[in-house]
Symmetry: C2
Subunit: 453 residues, 2 copies
């Protein structure tokens, strides 16, 4: 329980990712997302702070309409434009040595044969520092961008994801044996044919012959992340993920979720600690408590409740844009939104919560305001609840990260809450001491499974 | 006719691209293809030489079996492993300022919505230096990697390509009007909703709602290349391409092909010069003719005729591996191979050509051996035949390029056959004086075509 926390920078290749409106702050530079310099500078900053990961969220479509339209998304920069993160990774890898690069990629957006090849190429290019955040897309527009009439049902999406990861595991772990790449100039033998295998996958959605076109990269399979909190999502994470991104309302809730999920991990035959939990938190930092509170008030000043609601509604399947911000949530609840909004009643127990309360909670949720010492006190409580790391949500880029690095991390290091140096090696080795997935992981079953070439 | 030639470095993210066996030369470093440093160093070298493009060929599957198996490909490193080129581009862009980066991407491998987004992201990241070599995949294994039983018929592939480019043109040219991205911190207005449009593409293979998720990049549509020489391929190039990669056996044949294709370009309502031709050539350079000839002999020593035949057979649809190298071609010809092998009879008119002649011709084809001055003489003849540029095929990386840059380009510059400086601006501006496609290009028809948001 006394291991240092790990730190991940939660970003998206867009202007307005989560704390909508914060891009208007004078110091905010996230409007520069089109610039490669912007991202390379951030990666170098994070490596200076010895962050473990830069974690790119992503979407491949708009959220569901708000006030009957997608106008709000364009006008407020709510994840549109949103650029592809994967194609930035090699520039970030070239300019850093240790930083892990976690890329979100939906099973919807790319064929597993092509995706596996891109990731393997990047894992070589980065000397083994690539992670993959496995997602199934949530918005109808995303599905309609890829030829579907509507969102594939939730459980069916996870069956699809099961097959998708099966294909890429076969390519990454089973298609090439160790030692297959020879490159001997004297004999002219470049590869050992008996160590390279077609996978001949034949499933419900995919048929893939193989072989994988890329020789084994340092990690073979990238470090696997997942964020789903539904039953199917947690089952998937328990089987596959090495890192889970959680947004628990408080340390006690995190502890319950972690304990419960780790039981599922064990039921899958994996070691419970093979799944690490990263809690999403944002920080408002002051040299005094008063300064921190003043900065938090300044942030609240620019945060836009309507945009925050538009984003939240995207996950509810109900257009909250038709209601005034002061509408009681009780007047809105439908069968589809009831369970999702239950936590709002918990958070505002003393009166009937409103739409505005939802916006406030979404933006304050996971926010820690205080001096570096106060923040360290709070992070110690989170660590004791069992989280392995923090996914640092930003209000401004690079400000949220530079302030955290310059003011909070030194205090955390003094208290043993943060590492003082990077470990050597691949992203997985830094996290677990191993370059490759352990034998208990389902991907490992494909090692040596394809003996005919 | 007296414009300087343009130069492109023809490479692939693999060990053995075209001159199979050359990787065994002591100075050859192409076995380092897994290394990002290798590619960044090459890009910097090419920029030092003021090359216009680094042109990445690519495949997404093995060639057809040779001697009844794919053993030969693995053993000789014939385009396996082959890594993805697209994900390298941002590192190359970050480390250069002028070099154009041309990426081959098959219509088979990625969905046009995802592909368009990756390319737009890279065109932003490179300040407008991305090109796309449009291909339809040729090997059965590639199709079986993507779920098909067999190769889609040739003409149907081009109909598919027609729809594919239609989708990406709509996203690149029609989805966002100029001035849609506002990013005004004072007002909080990030984008002009009335200038962003869904495309609602509904075609035979794709349905794509849109909008494009990326705001217009410097070139919007990347510089478009094509290499097909079939009737359907030439029709496609005449309609769409801005650069065509050709491998003509001699300047006269190039002139005939260029004149004929430019007629087709004009028939499509485009200016004939809007399609530029890059001839594939390789160079063996000596300070004396004798030294050049000796180096050519050393190269021939390591070139492997069987691997070259295995590669050639991949385009013939007939397994030439079942024949001895001295088998007369006349004993092999089938309906499928006859037309393709006709040029071999032309090239070896005095006797019955053999399989070995095919290998020799494939590796000598487009090879110029001599002193820098002799090479310049030959390039002047090629230029007078109407080519706009040379796609420099390598025997070794980086040697083939450093020798060309250090010894041949200075002579070419003295004679006005090569530029002395880069022009400013995007890749398209360097090539044509414009950042965007001209109005006569079919992609331009989608500008302003989607007026409802």
């Amino acid at each position: 329980m006394s291991a240092p926390l790990r730190f991940s920078a939660f970003v998206m290749n867009t202007t307005s990712h989560i704390l909508h409106g914060a891009w208007r702050l004078p110091e905010a530079q996230q409007t520069r997302f089109n610039s490669l310099d912007h991202w390379v500078e951030l990666a170098k900053t994070l490596e200076r702070g010895k962050f473990d990961y830069i974690f790119f969220a992503d979407v491949v479509g708009l959220y569901d309409d708000y006030q009957g339209s997608w106008r709000k998304f364009v006008e407020s920069g709510l994840q549109i434009p949103s650029n592809d993160p994967t194609v930035l990774a090699s520039a970030l890898a070239y300019n850093t040595e240790h930083l892990g690069i976690v890329l979100t990629n939906s099973i919807l957006q790319s064929h597993p044969f092509d995706f596996a090849r891109k990731i393997s190429t990047l894992d070589h290019a980065s000397n083994g520092r690539i992670g993959w955040n496995i997602v199934t897309s949530l918005s109808g527009n995303a599905w309609r961008n890829f030829g579907f009439d509507e969102i594939t049902a939730h459980d069916e999406r996870y069956r699809w994801a099961d097959e998708y990861v099966d294909v890429v595991y076969k390519l990454w772990e089973g298609s090439w044996d160790d030692g297959a790449l020879i490159q001997d100039k004297a004999s002219g033998l470049h590869g050992d044919f008996d160590k390279v295998h077609k996978i001949n996958h034949d499933g419900k959605r995919y048929r893939v012959e193989g072989p994988h076109l890329v020789a084994p990269s340092p990690q073979r399979t990238p470090v696997l992340f997942q964020a789903g909190s539904s039953a199917a999502g947690r089952r998937f994470a328990a089987r596959n993920a090495e890192g889970q991104f959680i947004v628990s309302p408080n340390p006690a809730a995190a502890k319950a979720l972690i304990d419960d999920t780790r039981r599922l991990v064990a039921e899958n035959g994996r070691a419970p600690e093979d799944l690490q939990f990263f809690q999403g938190l944002s920080f408002v930092i002051g040299s005094t408590e008063e300064e921190a509170k003043r900065k938090a008030a300044e942030l609240d000043e620019v945060l836009d409740p309507n945009t925050i609601i538009a984003h939240a509604a995207g996950g509810l399947g109900h257009d909250l844009g038709h209601y005034d911000l002061d509408t009681p949530i009780g007047d809105i609840e439908t069968e589809g939104t009831r369970s999702t909004l239950a936590w709002l009643h918990e958070a505002v127990p003393d009166r009937e919560p409103t739409v505005r309360d939802l916006a406030r909670l979404r933006s304050h949720h996971g926010r820690i305001v205080g001096t570096p010492e106060q923040i360290a006190d709070r992070l110690a409580v989170w660590r004791d609840a069992g989280i392995d790391g923090v996914n640092v949500t930003n209000a401004t880029i690079p400000g949220s990260f530079t302030e955290f690095i310059d003011h909070v991390l030194p205090v955390l290091r003094d208290r043993g809450l943060a590492r003082t140096e990077y470990a050597e090696g691949t992203a997985r080795r830094k996290a677990t001491g191993r370059d490759l997935l352990p034998d208990s992981h389902p991907a490992a079953t494909y090692r040596g499974a394809f003996t005919d070439s």
